[in-house]
C-alpha cells in the first residue's frame, strides 16, 4: 500500500464567466514512504494545484486520493487539518516565514498545533532542528535579518520539526541563486531522508529535479513519468513553452 495514492485526480476551477477550467485531469501518482519524487512543468501547468491537493490544502473535483489507504474525500474539516499537520511539512518558494518571529519561534510554530509532550518541548525541538540545518547560532534572529538561503533553511527546519511523513516543496530554490539553491536542496534531500520522510518537489530546476528517485512532468494538467535522463528534455520543453 502506497503512502499517497492518486487515481484519476481532476481539479476544475470556475472562471469569472462561469465556465470551468480543468487545471488537473486524470492524474495518477503514488508516493512510497521515504521516496523522493520531483515534478516539473511550465507555469500554469497545475503543479502548485497538485501539491495543494497532495497536502490536503485543496480538494480534487474528480478521482480518488488515498492517504495510507484511506480515502481523503470523506474527511471533515477538523480531521483534515489535523491530518495535514501530522502528515505533511511544507516548504514554500517564498519561504513564508512568520514575520518578526525569531527563527526558533518560526520553527516551533507547527508544534503549537501538536499535543502533549510534542507541544510542551517545542522550543527544544526547534532548537535541535535549527542546529541540524546549521542555523543554531541564528536561532534568535528574525527573518528580516536572515539571508534568502538562511530563510529557506529555517523553512526546511520548520517543515521537518514535527516529523512529517511527507515533505511537499513548492519551488524550494525558486527565490535563491544557483549555488545557494543547490546547497539548500541538497540539505532538504539529506534531512528529509534522515527523517525517513517522503519528499515531493516541484521545480523548474533541472539539477533539483535530478536529485529525485522518480521524476514526472506535468503538462496541461496531465502527469507523465519522465524516464531517467529525460528530465533535461522536459525542462527544455518547459522553457520553450514558457
Amino acid at each position: 500500500m502506497s503512502l499517497l495514492e492518486l487515481t484519476g485526480i481532476g481539479r476544475d476551477v470556475r472562471l469569472p464567466d462561469g465556465s470551468l477550467l480543468p487545471v488537473l485531469a486524470g492524474v495518477d501518482l503514488s508516493v512510497e514512504p521515504g521516496e523522493h519524487v520531483s515534478i516539473v512543468g511550465r507555469s500554469g501547468s497545475g503543479k502548485s494545484t497538485l501539491l495543494n491537493v497532495l497536502g490536503l490544502l485543496d480538494s480534487p473535483t474528480a478521482g480518488t486520493y488515498l492517504l495510507d489507504g484511506q480515502p481523503t474525500d470523506s474527511l471533515g474539516g477538523r480531521r483534515r487539518s489535523r491530518l495535514r499537520g501530522e502528515t505533511f511539512g511544507f516548504v514554500f518558494q517564498q519561504f513564508n516565514l512568520l514575520p518578526r518571529r525569531t527563527a526558533e519561534e518560526n520553527v516551533a510554530a507547527p508544534l503549537l498545533y501538536a499535543r502533549g509532550r510534542e507541544f510542551l518541548t517545542r522550543n527544544r525541538a526547534a532548537r535541535a532542528m535549527l542546529d541540524r540545518v546549521g542555523l543554531g547560532p541564528r536561532a534568535l534572529s528574525v527573518p528580516e535579518k536572515l539571508s534568502g538561503g538562511e530563510q529557506q533553511r529555517v523553512a526546511i527546519a520548520r517543515a521537518l520539526v514535527r516529523g512529517p511523513r511527507v515533505v511537499l516543496a513548492d519551488e524550494p530554490t525558486g527565490a535563491l541563486d544557483v549555488e545557494t539553491g543547490a546547497a539548500v536542496m541538497a540539505l532538504l534531500a539529506e534531512v528529509t531522508a534522515e527523517n525517513g520522510a517522503a519528499l515531493v518537489t516541484i521545480t523548474h530546476d533541472l539539477s533539483v529535479a535530478a536529485l529525485a528517485g522518480r521524476r514526472f512532468r506535468l503538462d496541461h494538467g496531465r502527469l507523465t513519468p519522465v524516464a531517467a535522463g529525460g528530465a533535461l528534455a522536459a525542462a527544455t520543453s518547459d522553457r520553450t513553452d514558457a
Partner: protein, 403 residues
C-alpha cells in the same frame, strides 16, 4: 489542555509581536475602563460622603424624629415631656442605643477673648452613633458623663480655637457662664468645618441645676429620635404619634422620618448615569479595537494560510484571533484598573469630596468596580475579535499562501 495552551500561546505571541498596533488599538479601551472603574469608585466614595453627611444631620436609616409643642404655651413642660418619653420607651421596650434626645440651646461660654453664645446641642450619648459622629480627637459622650458635676462637651475646632487650644493634650475646660457658672470639660473634638463654634453637651449632668441657669435658653422644645428598622418606620410613626398624644394631653405631637430616605435612590441613579457614560466610551473603544483588528487580519492573511498548512483547524484560527483581541483588551483593562486603584488610593479624594471632613467609614476601592472593569474589557475584546476571526476562518488557504 495543550490545545488551549497552544491557542493562548499563539494569541499572546501575536500581541507581543504587534505591540505598537495593539497599544494603539487599546487606548480607547484603556481610557474607558479607567474612567468606568475610577468613576465607580468615586461614586461609591461620594455616596459614602453623602450618606455620612446626611446621617450626621438626619440620622441613620431609619430615624424617626418626634417633637411636641403646646399650642397655648409654646413648649411642653420638660417634666411632662420626659415622663411621656419614658413611658413610650418602656411600653415598646426600646433599647437605649435606639433612642436619642436632642435639644438646642445657646450656651454662654467664657472664652479668653470674652463670653460668647455658642449653638449647643444637648444630646443623649446615643445621639453620636445614631448620627455617625466620630470625634477626630478624644471621645464621644457617654452615660457616665451624666454623673459628673462638670458637664462633658464635644466641640468643633472653631470652638477649640476660641479657647486657644490646638488639641486636647492640655485637657481644656471652659466655664459656662451665667448667674451660676459651671466648669465644663471638653472630652472630644469633631472635624466639622462649620465656620463658627458649636458644641454637643451631655443631656444631663450632676451639675445641671446650676448650669441650666447659665443658658440663654432653649430654642426649641426637646425632641426625641428613634432608630428603627426601615420597613417598620411608617408603623412606628403612626404608633408614636398616637401614644405620645395620649400621654401628653393638649400637646401637638409631630413624628416623621428625618433620615435622607431617598438618598439611596439618588445615588443609584447617579451610578447608573455614570455607568451608562462608561459603557458608551467602552463601546467606542471597542469600535477602535474592531477597526484595527479588521485591518490587520487582512494584512495577516498569508500568515493565517501558513498556520493552516501547519494543521491549524478553523476553530483554532477563530479562537486564536478572538483570544488575541481578548488577551489585549484584558491586559488593557488590568492596566486601567491598576491605575484607577493607584489614583483612588493615593489622591485625597475623600477629603475633596467631603470638604475636608474625613469619612468615618472610608470605603476601600470597590472590588466590584475592578471586576466589572476587567469583565467589560474582556467582553469588548471578545466582541471586537469576532468579526476579524470570522474573516480569518473564511480565508482560503491556497489563496492565503499565495497572497
Amino acid at each position: 489542555m495543550t490545545g488551549l495552551l497552544g491557542t493562548l500561546s499563539e494569541a499572546w505571541g501575536e500581541v507581543r509581536v504587534h505591540k505598537a498596533r495593539v497599544l494603539l488599538s487599546l487606548v480607547g479601551v484603556f481610557l474607558a475602563v479607567l474612567a468606568m472603574t475610577t468613576v465607580t469608585a468615586l461614586g461609591q466614595m461620594a455616596a459614602q460622603v453623602q450618606q455620612e453627611q446626611g446621617e450626621a444631620s438626619g440620622g441613620r436609616t431609619a430615624t424617626i424624629g418626634v417633637s411636641a409643642y403646646d399650642p397655648m404655651t409654646g413648649s411642653v413642660p420638660r417634666d411632662e415631656w420626659d415622663a411621656g418619653v419614658q413611658a413610650l420607651v418602656s411600653r415598646y421596650g426600646l433599647p437605649e442605643e435606639a433612642v436619642a434626645t436632642l435639644a438646642y440651646e445657646n450656651g454662654l461660654y467664657r472664652f479668653p477673648g470674652g463670653t460668647q453664645a455658642v449653638e449647643t446641642r444637648r444630646v443623649s450619648p446615643s445621639y453620636g452613633p445614631l448620627h455617625r459622629i466620630q470625634p477626630v480627637e478624644g471621645r464621644w459622650l457617654r452615660s457616665g458623663d451624666r454623673q459628673s458635676l462638670s458637664p462633658a462637651l464635644v466641640v468643633n475646632r472653631d470652638f477649640l480655637g476660641l479657647l486657644g487650644a490646638a488639641d486636647l493634650s492640655g485637657h481644656p475646660t471652659v466655664v459656662i457662664g451665667g448667674p451660676q457658672p459651671v466648669l465644663a470639660t471638653i472630652v472630644g473634638v469633631v472635624a466639622w468645618n462649620e465656620g463658627y463654634p458649636s458644641a454637643y453637651r451631655i443631656d444631663s449632668s450632676a451639675g445641671d441645676a446650676t448650669a441650666s441657669a447659665g443658658g440663654v435658653g432653649f430654642w426649641s422644645p426637646p425632641s426625641l429620635e428613634l432608630w428603627v428598622p426601615s420597613d417598620q418606620a411608617d408603623a412606628v410613626v403612626a404608633a408614636v404619634q398616637t401614644d405620645l398624644a395620649r400621654l401628653l394631653p393638649g400637646a401637638e405631637v409631630q413624628a416623621n422620618r428625618q433620615d435622607p430616605e431617598n438618598l439611596e435612590d439618588t445615588i443609584a441613579k447617579l451610578r447608573l448615569a455614570v455607568r451608562a457614560a462608561g459603557l458608551v466610551v467602552l463601546f467606542l473603544g471597542g469600535l477602535g479595537v474592531l477597526n484595527i483588528g479588521l485591518v490587520t487580519v487582512r494584512q495577516r492573511i498569508r500568515e493565517i494560510g501558513v498556520r493552516r498548512s501547519f494543521g491549524a483547524t478553523s476553530a483554532r484560527v477563530f479562537s486564536a484571533v478572538v483570544l488575541e483581541s481578548v488577551v489585549a483588551t484584558a491586559l488593557a483593562g488590568l492596566a486601567a484598573v491598576a491605575l484607577s486603584v493607584a489614583i483612588v488610593r493615593n489622591l485625597p479624594l475623600e477629603r475633596w469630596l467631603a470638604g475636608g471632613v474625613p469619612l468615618v467609614d472610608a470605603p476601600g476601592f470597590p472590588v466590584s468596580a475592578a471586576v466589572e472593569g476587567l469583565l467589560a474589557a474582556t467582553a469588548v475584546g471578545a466582541l471586537a475579535g469576532l468579526v476579524p476571526a470570522l474573516i480569518a476562518v473564511r480565508v482560503k488557504v491556497i489563496d492565503a499562501i499565495r497572497f
